[in-house]
Amino acid sequence: MAGNVSTLAYVAQPRQRRSLRDPRWVRGALIGAALLFVTLFLVVPLAVVFTEALRKGPGAYFAALADRDALAAIRLTLLAASIAVPLNLIFGLAASWAIAKFEFRGKALLIALIELPFAVSPVISGLVYVLLFGAQGWFGPYLGAGDHRWLGPWANAHDIQIIFAVPGIVLATVFVTFPFVARELIPLMQAQGRDEELAALTLGATGWQTFRRVTLPNVKWGLFYGVVLCNARAMGEFGAVSVVSGHIRGETNTIPLHVEILYNEYNLQAAFAVASLLTLLALVTLVLKNLVELRHRRAREAAAASDLRQFAT
């Protein structure tokens, strides 16, 4: 049967013929150029971060991290990311599902809107929030305590601070990291088409069952990757957050802003120590992504091998 043939082809990979290879010097030059580039632009900067961070020894390194302001910055960064990432996960999933699986008016506009945060400079996005929610902004005057006709007693009784406060930082982070999940999922879902969902429906699955058992598992790696990227950006975002933050030490500083302050104070070792946290985050997400992919591949190969054994017996 055809299955035998395809399974064997799966195992036997013919060696490449010599005549199909490029000459040795071409291969060497290309690989060398690529390695040089990677070293200069990726490995060296990474190494610099950690050597600078550890120059005064591990004691100074951990002291810089345990600093009260540094801890506050870490907490705020984690808070902003833990709000922005789930929000954008849900939004990105919903938007890409709607865009990839359905036809509706204004679809092109929605796609353009999703991409907007990428097109706009983060500093501008930050400024937009200042213009909207700042003391002199559109909504600003209604946010302070006072007698505003349109608002309920609770809002009138409280000063609601958005700009130069935590809500502003969260808003700016959500805005800037808005497209990551959706951008990862839309092309994937479009390539997969609607047939599998329709098949599930004809088999009697409900809309929710179809989503949970067909749509979601099909995009889980894309979704995971989108979330990883979204999280990295949420924690690393500088421009937009910088505009709305106000740089109040211990209160409205995130990790990147704290690094900048330390750097401006010529406290290079501490700046790099805190920066190394973000670098570690990047390395961990990379390793995580590769591990997950590896496990996925292993599982598939194991399934194929078990079938091979069945044929052999």
């Binding site: 049967m1 055809a2 299955g3 043939v5 395809s6 399974t7 799966y10 997969q192 047939d195 599998e196 329709l198 098949a199 599930a200 429906l201 004809t202 088999l203 009697g204 699955a205 409900t206 069952q209 058992r213 067909v214 598992p217 099909n218 889980k220 598939r300 399934a303 194929a304 078990s306 079938d307 069945q310």
Partner: protein, 372 residues
């Protein structure tokens, strides 16, 4: 379970996919929807399945679909009891073959679901039916195209559908696998007797596999009938041109003597080539090429009178006896000619003298039964 579609129209923007189509499919029949791409056949199938809906849905004048007399027009696809097989299989790519087939048995209302062990038994039974025992743990992309298509079929059959709908089931497979699967599907149908409708653009597939062929073109049904009938008694020029090879010849010349400008259709196997030049009423032609590979030789010819090209299919032995060469002058006799005066079918079987009665003003050449 019989299927009836009544007055189905469907537009996609400015494009008319279906234009007032009526279709009846008898219980237990294997029916082919045959037509070129864009003829509306897949849309009709999807409307029957409940994956698309006719225009003006909810309006009393909208097209309706009945299963065994029951109106299912407003029923969701999942509740119609149809098994649908997609052209590109649409297997759940992250699930094993086993889970794919079991899917339909694990999603219904909880109280109707089979116990786990019964589901496993049913899946194993289906794996046997599609001859893929032992491949349950594979993922779809570890299977060949033909295997995937059979898994898709098993998945659709698992829920014991009352109606089986297949969209270009063999469209994505290569010729040999296609033939094997076709035969296998026919056997399966004999065994299960589920009312089945399949879409195809391959006339050979439709004629070989189906009990009944529905020929579609430009959003309408052109003809419905058993394969033999649509092939032998095509209702329109479209049907004869779409089903099998056919020569299209102008009739307005000295020997083929109709009074109006019309077209004759002659199947290549109804063209007989003769060497002797005794009969000067026979059509004269010159041989352009002889392709002699296979059981039948194909001879391409050019009419002497008006230069039209046409083809003949000649049995290998006959071809050998004639010893035809490129450039030879021969006589040609048409055993069977079809015409469509005013778009209607008229058969012209020379041996019956039918031609004389169906074609006013036409006199068969002397020695009717031999030549036109």
């Amino acid at each position: 379970m019989s299927i009836e579609a009544r007055n189905i129209s469907k537009h996609f923007g400015a494009f008319t996919a279906l234009d007032g189509v009526d279709l009846k499919v008898g219980t237990g029949r294997l029916t082919a929807l045959l037509g070129p791409s864009g003829s509306g056949k897949t849309t009709l199938l999807r409307i029957i399945a409940g994956l698309e809906f006719p225009d003006a849905r909810g309006d009393p004048t909208a097209g309706r679909v009945f299963f065994h007399g029951e109106d299912v027009s407003d029923m969701a696809a999942g509740r119609r009891g149809v098994g649908f097989v997609f052209q590109h299989y649409a297997l759940f790519r992250h699930m094993t073959v086993f889970d794919n087939i079991a899917f339909g048995l694990t999603v219904g209302p909880r109280k109707n679901r089979l116990p786990r062990a019964a589901i496993a038994d049913r899946v194993r039974e289906l794996l046997g039916l599609i001859q893929l025992d032992g491949l349950g743990r594979r993922l779809p992309d570890q299977l060949s195209g033909g295997q995937r298509q059979r898994v898709a079929l098993a998945r659709a059959l698992a829920v014991q559908p009352k109606v089986l709908l297949l969209d270009e089931p063999f469209g994505a497979l290569d010729a040999q696998v296609r033939k094997d699967l076709r035969r296998w599907l026919r056997q399966l149908h004999e065994k299960l007797h589920v009312t089945t409708v399949f879409v195809t653009h391959d006339q050979e597939e439709a004629l070989e596999l189906a009990d009944e062929v529905v020929v579609m073109n430009q959003a309408r049904i052109q003809q419905v009938g058993p394969p033999q009938e649509v092939y032998d008694r095509p209702a329109s020029p479209f049907v004869i041109e779409f089903l099998g090879n056919v020569n299209r010849l102008a009739a307005g010349d000295g020997r083929l003597r109709p009074t109006d400008q019309s077209v004759l259709y002659v199947r290549p196997h109804d063209v007989d080539i003769q060497r002797d030049h005794a009969d000067d009423h026979a059509l004269r032609a010159r041989i352009l090429h002889v392709f002699s590979a296979g059981n039948y030789g194909r001879v391409s010819l050019q009419r002497a009178d008006n230069g039209e090209h046409f083809e003949a299919e000649v049995a290998r032995d006959r071809l050998h006896d004639l010893g035809l060469k490129q450039g030879d002058e021969v006589s040609v006799v048409f055993r069977h000619v079809r015409m469509f005066p005013q778009g209607k079918f008229a058969e012209a079987d020379v041996s019956d003298g039918l031609l004389a009665t169906t074609r006013p003003g036409y006199t068969p050449a002397h020695g009717a039964g031999e030549n036109i």
